[in-house]
Subunit: 248 residues, 2 copies
């Protein structure tokens, strides 16, 4: 039997930036316009934020699509081992599908909001693929860059120490990190908003803090933390505390 | 006398990203191709890194150029008040020139390596202009995103705390920050390489550290810190320590 070795297709983690179609890099824009296969994560029952963002680019070229729908896991707490097991199986299945496409010689572009290697779901596919497949990554503008840009104030000066924190982390650790920083970014806040606010107050940073919702998107909104009256924040919210370092 | 009020031109701080022409955002690329006036910082006696980067884009359109040459200040230590005074006068002069262009109705694009609000010289013009002029900012891909992308390893997972430090900072403060972080970026290392290395060793992070020189540029190079034998680093070097957070 004559077996022809098929050349593996490239797998590309494509940073889309913060959520405006013209904040994709020129490289990402070009790759996407030439794409034959795209893959993206989405919540069940939604079109997916990444897919929605790139609609103006791919409408004409209509690549093959692979939607990776996060399993519903809200009934299992993050601390339960079954939570990790569910997600692990999910990433394994996504990886198999993408690997099969690559084995068949197709290039696959994986859409990544923000920057692929910065708190991205793509990384879970990357670690499963990189030993056996040609995986490339295109960096993107992060959501935090869009957030501090939206505040209209420079973020870091001179020797400022900047720290990036998750609202989901332990408050004791958050407080320690806040106290050692000059400039602060807090992401994944959601239902942890009250404890994050308490930490900022305790660290003496609440007065300088800004809330940016949907940075760079059509519904972008910026508030001072001290003016914000709601008890909750939309998921796409970032808290920004600007550095105050030396400036001539 | 009939005085016609001239409409002020826009002043745009344009993030160019880490140093590859196709890592400009689509928005930055478009604005630059339509530019009538550009301004950029450079070291005396050089063409300027930002200007060199965008040459392929502006060669045909040939906008008016304003090169802002940093005053030679190496003979004055940073701690000397005259250092700040020299730089302050320099930024004042640059601001006056750009303000005059805007007053004459010209749009001016200020080229910014990386992201304009992230440790950028542009911020010194911004603070002098923003009260009286229509200043806009286009975020860019940061040099640190390009650096961790170059290492081929994801940067931050789950609840990882990421900290951004300058090699120029006090070692005691650096050590404290290193100990409270999961993922680390160190920039502006240059002649502080030895003290930075000592801090990383003391914090137990040296074995996990990578050095990235000229990230995203043609001469990009990546080393493990433990394999790097030179006593100095090129100016465009970033040290990366990846987070190790939870992953399913």
């Amino acid at each position: 039997m004559n077996i022809k070795q098929q050349k593996q297709g490239r797998i590309i983690g494509l940073g889309l930036g913060p959520g405006a179609i013209d904040l994709l890099s020129v490289r990402a824009d070009r790759l996407l316009r030439a794409a034959s296969h795209i893959a993206y994560f989405r919540k069940q029952g939604t079109a997916g934020r990444a897919r929605t963002l790139v609609a103006p680019i791919i409408n004409d070229t209509a690549p093959e699509e692979f939607a990776m729908e996060y399993p519903v896991t809200t009934e299992i707490p993050v601390s339960d081992p079954r939570y990790n097991q569910h997600l692990s199986e999910f990433y394994d299945n996504c990886t198999s599908h993408i690997a099969a496409l690559s084995d068949a010689g197709h290039d696959v572009i994986i859409l990544c909001e923000g920057d692929p290697f910065f708190y991205g779901s793509f990384m879970h596919l990357f670690t499963r693929l990189e030993a056996d497949y040609p995986v490339e990554v295109v960096p993107g503008i992060t959501g935090m860059s869009a957030a501090w840009t939206a505040t209209g104030l420079p973020m870091t000066w001179g020797d400022d120490v900047m720290v990036v924190l998750m609202g989901t982390m332990q408050t004791k650790k958050m407080l320690a990190a806040l106290k050692s920083a000059d400039a602060v970014v807090i992401m994944k806040i959601g239902r942890h908003f009250q404890s994050v606010k308490t930490c900022l107050l305790e660290a003496g940073l609440a007065e300088r803090a800004y809330i940016v919702c949907y940075a760079a998107m059509a519904n972008q909104a910026v508030y001072r933390l001290s003016d914000y009256r709601d008890d909750t924040l939309p998921y796409f919210s970032i808290i920004i505390v600007h550095g105050q370092g030396r400036r001539p």
